[in-house]
């Protein structure tokens, strides 16, 4: 039977591994350690080769897919009574396994490049770098340029950034499956919101700037030697290398996933992802919104607690205010856990969304 709401009551705060008990710290340490090993050593390469995979990155793709499938089973056991949740997770896991593992595994066997088709710029920060584009076949270069600059923003305008962040993206996918047990740990204080607004837009700015500098460097053909060296040089502190180290490895990997059990699964998506920031701006201008049913909110806090992006959904719901927040990834969980069915995700044209609200029980004399 299809149901819309949370089925049965969760024991979140009675399970120590989900509520910052000792085990949560152990898991966080293991995850963080794994990413350090992955990024800065070659220890995983022999294991990959032994399994018949060409590189440690394909092994990582395999492990990532396994974590997502396992996490999806956990997620569906808790929230699978709702059709939106079932379809969304199935698509997200499907995209990961097909486009971010099997395709890169198989394409080179037929002479193609090892391309990750579900990742776009600026999340996949090097996708639009001249060095990357020039190494790709023309059809793939076009795919990434049109996908990143045109299709992604347009879809975000039409359906909200959820089309990417909660249906396609691997980072979001891991957060919503493997990371689901910890979604309530995302901070929802005003302070955390202030931090997020500054940090996520800063990273977006830096991502655009880095790309711009690299394009400039390629356009001038590395003519000015010092500029080329500063921007695209091989030393670890050139703009290109530094961005990869800080944003690509430390923030997205080590911190982003390693800290799942302590700060929730969307630490990266919320505070650092340049793609989320960019699509968020289009979402804010576009049609996606969360509609709030008048007066039905009982201020219980389920929505705010289980919002993985730390949005204080309750503050909108209890003041009868439909809303669009740039951060919202449209995971649908707020609507799912709301015990009074107050919230609904919508892609409504503006006129319809703003339809006049009727009477208030307060009469002024």
């Amino acid at each position: 039977m299809d149901q819309q709401g949370q089925n049965g009551l969760m024991r979140t705060f009675r399970e120590p591994w989900r509520s910052r008990g000792a085990l949560a710290y152990v898991v966080a340490a293991l995850l963080t350690g794994f990413y350090v090993v992955l990024y800065w050593t070659e220890w995983l390469t022999p294991a990959a080769v032994a399994l018949g995979l060409r590189s440690k990155w394909l092994l990582y793709g395999a492990l990532y897919s396994v974590a997502m499938v396992g996490g999806a089973a956990y997620y569906l056991r808790h929230h699978g009574n709702s059709r939106y949740n079932r379809v969304r997770i199935a698509v997200n896991v499907g995209v990961q396994v097909a486009l971010a593992f099997l395709l890169p595994l198989i394409m080179p066997l037929f002479g193609g490049p090892e391309a990750y088709l579900s990742y776009f710029w600026p999340l996949s920060y090097d996708k639009l770098w001249p060095s990357t584009l020039s190494s790709l076949p023309v059809y793939l270069a076009l795919y990434f340029i049109v996908g990143s600059l045109l299709v992604a923003p347009l879809l975000a305008y039409r359906y909200g950034k959820r089309w990417y962040c909660s249906w396609v993206c691997g980072c979001g996918g891991l957060a919503n499956t493997f990371g689901d047990p910890w979604r309530h740990l995302t901070a929802s204080s005003t302070r955390s919101w202030r931090f997020e607004k500054v940090s996520v837009h800063t990273v977006m700015f830096v991502a655009v700037l880095t790309t711009f500098l690299l394009v400039l460097d390629a356009a001038t053909d590395g003519a000015t030697g010092t500029f080329h060296w500063l921007v695209a040089g091989g030393q670890w502190w050139s703009v290109k290398q530094l961005y990869g180290l800080v944003v690509g490895a430390i923030l997205a990997g080590v911190v982003g996933v390693g800290f799942y059990p302590l700060f929730g699964p969307r630490l990266w998506c919320r505070n650092f992802c340049p793609m989320a920031a960019m699509l968020g701006l289009f979402q804010k201008l576009g049609r996606f919104r969360i509609a709030v049913k008048k007066d039905m909110c009982i201020s219980c806090g389920n929505c705010t607690t289980y919002c993985e992006m730390g949005i204080d959904v309750r503050s909108y719901a209890q003041s009868n205010q439909s809303f669009t927040r740039a951060a919202c990834v449209g995971c649908g969980m707020c609507a799912h856990v709301c015990p009074r069915g107050v919230l609904r995700l919508e892609n409504a044209p503006r006129e319809q969304a703003d339809k006049a609200r009727v009477r208030l029980p307060v009469v002024d004399l």
Binding site: M1, D2, Q3, Q4, G5, Q6, N7, G8, L9, M10, R11, T12, F13, R14, E15, P16, S19, R20, G21, N81, S82, R83, Y84, V87, H184, S189, T190, K293, K294, D295, M296, C297, I298, S299, C300, G301, N302, T304, T305, R314, S315, Q318, G332, A335, H336, P339, R340, G341, R344, L345, R357, V358, R359, L360, P361, V362, V363, D364, L365
Partner: protein
């Protein structure tokens, strides 16, 4: 200007915020025995299961009181001197002077009328302290979310008959055979938390079907079926006669026999929390001046402006008896009405002439895992009543009941799907016909995305006569 507000619930806090937004310099004092922070009483059940922590159910960040400049007194109010304009406090605290007073003291649980109702192992599920008791009985203590801040800060200034006194614990995490008495909303929530803790409660309901205040027998049968599937032993039409045990609860005796129990949640309704306002009560209660007028149920009688019988004294929320659509005064006992009343009362405290105008009735709830929306009149003896009832059993299971008075649609009772009551209320106000409503029903749908819409059968659903009711005289659905 000194504003004093008795009660830190939704009515009290909304009033306080309203006053502060209008009058930055007035002194606003909030007296609350139960808790330091305003919390959502409706969310107690999820704190018990561990789905939420205490901090989660506080709708404002904890710096609210400092930010808004509210004075907070954590003590029991034990009486009122309306002549000298001051509130008496327990624990030997100095009386609190006021210029304008709001009574927003909420409800207290109705005590069980049977012998043994004060045994250890017997309690309620209404206050913070009730929650702490039930957590101790079932789980041995609070979840990792921890207890609320300063849970016992009021104990130096309370009274023996206060509903906010800690309740003695019998089982300390060892409760195995729980019972719940009373088939209202709080009763079913108590059942749910016990089920979530892996227990199989016995659910005693005096009426012949579950929650006749709101559901007709067909709707009720579905909910009872859901409860059965979760291992609940639902005893309909069974009257409790006594709670049996020496010191500690051992059995519940009913008109049909005895059931072994080591824990019992009594959820037979709530009453206005106003005994402390009655004159002529013994220590520590005191009074002076003309007492505030209470109605037969104990609610503070107020007019549309939420003004009591005494000048400068207002009441809002569960403890206020407000005029209903039929002219009769009753308390409303709902979250959103308490909130709205708090806002109106706040305006009154500022000296405005705002009115509280109750429109068409509506509410929503969740019964086990079944969504419930109601609007208008559904179980109150509607003149010339007819019912359109349709049960959907496909990918979605739902029931749709539309109540007519003659040709006019006057009520909706909807289970299993989500609906936008605003549209339903508009149709009721517009005196729509059944044909119109059925043709436009999808406009009121609030289902989540991808859920197949309800397909209303074109014809073939017979109209029934009046829905059976066990209630005589006008109290619409949704009494806790």
């Amino acid at each position: 200007m000194r504003v004093v507000i008795i009660g830190n619930g939704v009515a009290g806090i909304e009033a306080a915020i309203t006053v502060r937004n209008r009058e930055p310099t007035w002194s606003v004092t909030i007296v609350s025995e139960e808790s330091d922070h305003f919390f959502s009483r409706t969310a107690l059940m999820w704190v018990h299961t561990g789905q939420l922590s205490h901090a989660c159910i506080e709708p404002h960040e904890r710096d609210l009181y400092a930010r808004m400049g509210f004075e907070r007194v954590r003590a029991r109010a034990v009486g009122l001197d309306t002549a000298a304009r001051r509130v008496f406090l327990a624990g030997g605290l100095a009386p609190l002077p006021y210029d304008r007073l709001l009574i927003a003291a909420g409800s207290r649980p109705r005590p069980g009328p049977w012998p043994g109702a004060d045994l250890r192992g017997v309690g309620h599920f209404v206050t913070h302290q009730d929650l702490a008791w039930l957590e101790a009985e079932v789980h041995g203590g609070p979840s990792r979310g921890g207890p609320p801040p300063r849970p016992d800060a009021h104990l130096s200034a309370t009274a023996d008959d206060s509903p906010y006194r800690p309740r003695p614990v019998a089982a300390r995490g060892g409760a195995r055979a729980p019972a719940v008495i009373g088939g209202g909303l709080i009763g079913i929530e108590a059942v749910e938390v016990l089920v979530a803790a892996g227990l199989r409660p016995t659910f005693f309901i005096r009426e012949d079907w579950f929650w006749p205040m709101a559901l007709d027998p067909r709707e009720s049968a579905w909910i009872a079926e859901r409860m059965g599937e979760h291992g609940v032993d639902v005893r309909l039409g069974e009257n409790v006669e006594a709670l049996v045990g020496d010191d500690r609860l051992q059995r519940v005796r009913t008109d049909r026999g005895e059931v072994d129990c080591d824990l019992c949640v009594v959820a037979i309704g709530v009453v206005p929390n106003t005994d402390w306002l009655r004159a002529d009560r013994g220590e520590p209660y005191r009074s002076g001046g003309q007492p505030v007028k209470l109605d037969a149920r104990g609610g503070v009688e107020v007019d549309e402006g939420l003004t009591s019988s005494v000048d400068g004294v207002f009441a809002a929320g569960d403890c206020a008896s407000v005029p209903w659509y039929d002219g009769v005064r009753r308390p409303e006992q709902l979250w959103y009405t308490a909130r709205d009343q708090g806002r109106v009362a706040g305006r009154r405290l500022c000296g405005d002439t705002a009115l509280y105008a109750r429109g068409v009735w509506y509410n929503s709830a969740k019964l086990m895992d079944v969504e419930y929306t109601t609007a208008g009149l559904v179980s109150v003896g509607v003149p010339d009543e007819r019912n359109w009832f349709y049960e959907e059993r496909g990918a979605v299971r739902s029931t749709t009941r539309i109540v007519l008075s003659g040709e006019r649609v006057v009520g909706f009772n909807l289970l299993g799907r989500r609906w936008d009551h605003e549209v339903l209320v508009r149709w009721i106000e517009e005196h729509r016909s059944l044909d119109y409503v059925l043709a436009h029903l999808t406009e009121a749908s609030f289902d989540t995305e991808l859920v197949p819409p309800l397909e209303v059968p074109a014809r073939g659903v017979e109209l029934d006569g009046p829905a059976p009711t066990v209630i005589d005289g006008g109290m619409p659905a949704m009494v806790v």
